[in-house]
Symmetry: C2
Subunit: 204 residues, 2 copies
DNA sequence: GGTATTGTATACCGATCAATACAGAAAAGA
DNA sequence: TCTTTTCTGTATTGATCGGTATACAATACC
């Protein structure tokens, strides 16, 4: 690696981690450069030299978030032997992840940038795509269960996937509103109790 | 009425209606005074003379929203003869209200101001209280059903209420993400299909 | 008409926004 | 040592933020 010139005086990964926390807590628009730089312990020129722009920094923060936060929510989807167990893990891990001590409540992907809410067209579009991806992951797991005979052929996997994704997104708002882990877990358990009604009798 | 002085040159109610639309579409922080005044067709001094401040205008906009938008969602709660039918109406009216043509998708109460997301401590607190009120309304209806014997004595009304409120809040995000009425209705139907699992076997 | 009262339009306030110009500091290569 | 390269701190950019001072216009009361 060509390490010409003055070496960087801060840990890029650590600074990114702190930027992620700020975006997570305040959203893209709510996180000012002053918020970011003071949390990262650097000045704005250093931020722009290392991350190009607020938007690029946000993109990297989202990548870091996906890589490090609540990963078990999605890995357990495919690992669980049945779709029912997959959904159980999905909801319970969500309840736990959204109330991690020392971390902002709720999910960066869900709360980080609502569409049409600000100047952040790119950030909005990126998060919306992530959310759409999440619904797809759920749908694929349910269709697998359908192929394996766990779900009846008539089950509307698309609707059930949207249902659980919607519930999870609502849990972000609940967490942000102050719901503690027990309260979130009770919602998760209700979602699990809902499974039989959904898997058994698909809506017409 | 003391109509001393120069009469107001615009319709206050109409201007408030337009302000509500702007807040609804962009949220408290996302709605700039320029957005508001240009939508309302007035200049900022007129806005401040009529509504005192952005925060007070937002408060009035929220009141107007509660008074005019999706009222059937909540009136049908008490009107429906059974809790099951109440929840059916609740979810279906939500799907319809959140995708009203010509109106911003989703709900102002849910999307208007996320906690910790900006400079709007008062606006956040107000909306959070509204959301908590909504959960309470659901809980009261379920407890009534419990008293009437529709729900078993062991049912966790608080958890079921939180579950449906959470689902509804998630539907706001789905709507804002572009889900059309059919898609939202499919989620609502899934929520209805979930009822039996919830009402029959309360989570331990 | 004259005065008091109230609304409107223009132009502006200090603060903050995201983003940079610039100069000095710290390293590598010659 | 000297040049080149890159990073850092200070100070600043133009734009926009929510909110107003001021002058003028339009009405009611007298």
């Amino acid at each position: 690696m060509s390490a010409r010139g003055r070496p960087r005086g801060f840990d890029r990964e650590e600074a990114l981690k702190r930027a992620m926390s700020v975006f997570w807590a305040k959203g893209y628009d709510g996180a000012s450069l002053t918020d970011l730089t003071s949390a990262m312990g650097i000045n704005s020129p250093s931020l722009y030299a290392a991350f190009c722009s607020k938007e690029a920094l946000f993109r990297e923060a989202v990548e870091l978030y996906k890589r490090t936060q609540g990963t078990e929510i999605w890995t357990s989807l495919d690992d669980a032997p049945t779709a029912r167990q997959a959904i159980e893990h999905f909801l319970r891990k969500t309840a736990i992840s959204y109330t991690t001590p020392g971390m902002p409540p709720g999910c960066l992907i869900v709360l980080g940038a609502l569409p049409e809410s600000g100047t952040n067209a790119a950030a909005c579009a990126e998060l919306r795509e992530e959310r759409a991806d999440n619904v797809e992951q759920l749908r694929r797991r349910l269709e697998r269960a359908q192929a394996e005979g766990e779900l009846p052929a008539g089950a509307d996997c698309r609707a059930i996937a949207a249902f659980y994704a919607t519930l999870q997104q609502g849990m972000s708002i609940q967490a942000r509103d102050g719901a503690d882990r027990d309260r979130l877990m009770a919602i998760a358990e209700a979602g699990i109790a809902a499974w039989d009604g959904l898997a058994g009798s698909p809506s017409d």
